[in-house]
Amino acid sequence: MCLAIPGIITKIEPSEDEIFRTGKVSFDGIQREVNLSMVPEAREGDYVLVHVGVALQIVDEEEAKQTLACFRELDELNEALKDHPDQEELE
C-alpha cells in the first residue's frame, strides 16, 4: 500500500486555500481527483507521484513514463487504482 503512482495533471481546480488545492490527474488515461497541496509549484502538464489521493512530488516525464510502463507491463495499474474511486462515485 506504500506505492506511489505517477500521473499527469490535466486540470487544476481553482481554490482559495492551498490546503484544498486539487486537480485532475490522468494515470495512463484513468482520471482521478488528487490533492495538490504538497506540490504548490505543480502546473497543468506536470507529472506527479501520487499516493492515497495526494500528490507527493513532481517527477520528470521520462521517469513517470518509465514507471507507468512497468506498471503496465506487470498489469498492475488497475490493481493499484482499483480502490481509488472517482470523486463522483463517492457522491
Binding site: M1, C2, L3, A4, D17, I19, F20, N35, S37, M38, V39, P40, L49, H51, V52, G53, V54, L56, Q57, V59, D60, E62, E63, K65, Q66, T67, A69, C70, E73, L74, D83, H84, P85, Q87, L90
Partner: protein, 364 residues
C-alpha cells in the same frame, strides 16, 4: 525515450546480475525494508535469478503487517459503536486482530468502509453529519502527509464528526531496532524510494554511521532494485559504509519540505508498538495534543484491551528476517490469504502473501 527502453530491457537485468556475480567474493545478507520491494523481488522473479550468495531478507516495511493486533481490536471496538462509521484502506480490513478482523465485524453489522484515501473518509464525514467518521490511519512516512492533511482539512472545515485512529510507524528506528537485535544478521539495506521522496535521506546517515552498514536508497523496478543490490554489495565488498542514493531522479536529500511541514503540524514522534517486534521507542507518529479533537483515542473511551499477540503466527520472526515464510508450519495449510492467521499473509506486500502468490516454497 532512452530511459523507457533502458529500464525494461531484459539485457540490462542480465548485465546487472552478471556484475553482481563478478563482484561478490562471499555471501551477503541484504534487507529490503519496503514491502513494495519484497513484492517486486518475487513478482519479477528476481529472487530466483540473483546469484547464490546474495541473501535477501524481507523487512518489516509493510504497514499493514506491523500494525499490532491491539490496534485492530481498538478499531473494531470503535466500529461496533453504532454512531461510528469506521473507514480504512482495503488491506487493513482483512488483518486479524486478537479475535477477529474488521471485515468480520462488518459482517456482524458494524459500519466499516473501505476507502482509497483519508480524504475520501473526510468526504463521507461531510455527507453524514449525524455519524462520527473514524479513519484508521496506518502507514509509513509515505502515507503520513495524506493522513495529516485530512486532519488539517477537518480543522479548517470545522468538522466535529471526524477523527483518526493513528498507528503510524517510521522506517529509520525500525532499521536501528533490527540492527540491534542479535538474532538478525543484516549487513546492508535497501531503503525505500517513496518513503525517502517524502522524508529525504538525512535520517539514514546516522543509522549507517552508528551501525557501520551501507544503506542504498532505491526504487521498485527490477533494474532499480538490481542496481541497488549491486551498489550495496560493492560497498560491502570494499568495506565501505554510509548512505548512497541510487534513486536521485526521484529522491532529493531534503525530501518534500511542504509534506514534512504538514506531518509535523499534526504529528510528533513517539513510542509505538510493532506487531511481532514489540515496543520501539521514538518509532512512530502520535497526534499532537493541539489536535486531540481529531484523535479517536481521545474522543472515545476505548476499553483497555489486553495485549495478547497470537503466538501461533511467527510474524515477528518473519518481519525481522530471521525466518522465511515457507519455514512457518502454517504457511499454505492453515494460513492462506483467504484465511490469514497473521498480518504478513494479508497484504500483497507482506512477505508471507508474496511467497504464497508467486509460489515460492524454497526461495532463499
Amino acid at each position: 525515450m532512452k530511459h523507457l527502453e533502458e529500464y525494461r530491457d531484459k539485457r540490462q537485468v542480465r548485465y546487472l546480475i552478471d556484475k553482481i556475480r563478478d563482484k561478490i567474493s562471499t555471501s551477503w545478507n541484504i534487507m529490503e525494508i519496503c514491502g513494495g520491494q519484497t513484492h517486486s523481488l518475487l513478482k519479477n522473479g528476481l529472487i530466483e535469478i540473483l546469484p547464490e550468495g546474495i541473501i535477501m531478507i524481507h523487512g518489516p516495511g509493510c504497514p499493514v503487517c506491523v500494525t499490532p493486533a491491539m490496534m485492530i481490536d481498538k478499531a473494531i471496538a470503535l466500529a461496533l459503536n453504532t454512531e461510528v462509521i469506521l473507514c480504512s484502506f482495503g488491506d487493513m480490513l482483512r488483518v486479524p486482530g486478537n479475535e477477529k478482523s474488521l471485515l468480520k465485524a462488518k459482517a456482524e453489522g458494524a459500519d466499516v468502509r473501505m476507502v482509497y484515501s483519508p480524504l475520501d473518509a473526510l468526504a463521507i464525514a461531510r455527507k453524514n453529519p449525524e455519524k462520527h467518521i473514524v479513519f484508521f490511519a496506518v502507514g509509513f512516512e509515505t502515507t503520513a502527509p495524506a493522513n495529516a492533511l485530512s486532519v488539517i482539512q477537518a480543522k479548517k472545515l470545522d468538522l466535529d464528526n471526524f477523527s483518526i485512529l493513528s498507528s503510524h510507524v517510521l522506517v529509520p528506528p525500525a532499521m536501528a531496532a533490527i540492527l540491534r537485535d542479535e538474532e538478525t544478521h543484516v549487513q546492508g539495506f535497501l531503503a525505500a524510494g517513496h518513503v525517502c521522496s517524502v522524508m529525504g535521506t538525512d535520517e539514514y546517515e546516522p543509522v549507517a554511521r552508528e551501525f557501520n552498514v551501507p544503506i542504498v536508497v532505491t526504487g521498485f523496478e527490477p533494474v532499480d532494485m538490481l542496481n541497488g543490490i549491486y551498489q550495496c554489495i560493492s560497498m560491502l565488498e570494499n568495506g565501505k559504509t554510509g548512505l548512497m542514493n541510487q534513486y536521485s531522479r526521484v529522491v532529493r536529500s531534503e525530501g518534500n519540505i511542504q509534506a514534512k511541514k504538514i506531518i509535523s503540524e499534526v504529528f510528533e514522534v513517539g513510542t509505538r508498538e510493532w506487531r511481532g517486534i514489540g515496543e520501539i521507542p521514538q518509532s512512530g507518529l502520535v497526534i499532537r495534543k493541539e489536535y486531540d479533537r481529531f484523535n479517536a483515542e481521545k474522543r472515545f473511551t476505548i476499553n483497555k484491551i489486553p495485549m495478547n499477540e497470537d503466538n501461533a503466527c511467527m510474524a515477528g520472526l518473519i518481519l525481522k528476517g530471521i525466518k522465511k515464510p515457507h519455514q512457518c508450519p502454517y504457511f499454505r495449510n492453515r494460513c492462506t490469504p483467504e484465511n490469514p492467521m497473521g498480518a504478513p499473509m494479508v497484504s500483497s506486500e507482506g512477505a508471507c502473501a508474496a511467497y504464497y502468490h508467486y509460489g515460492y516454497e524454497s526461495a532463499t
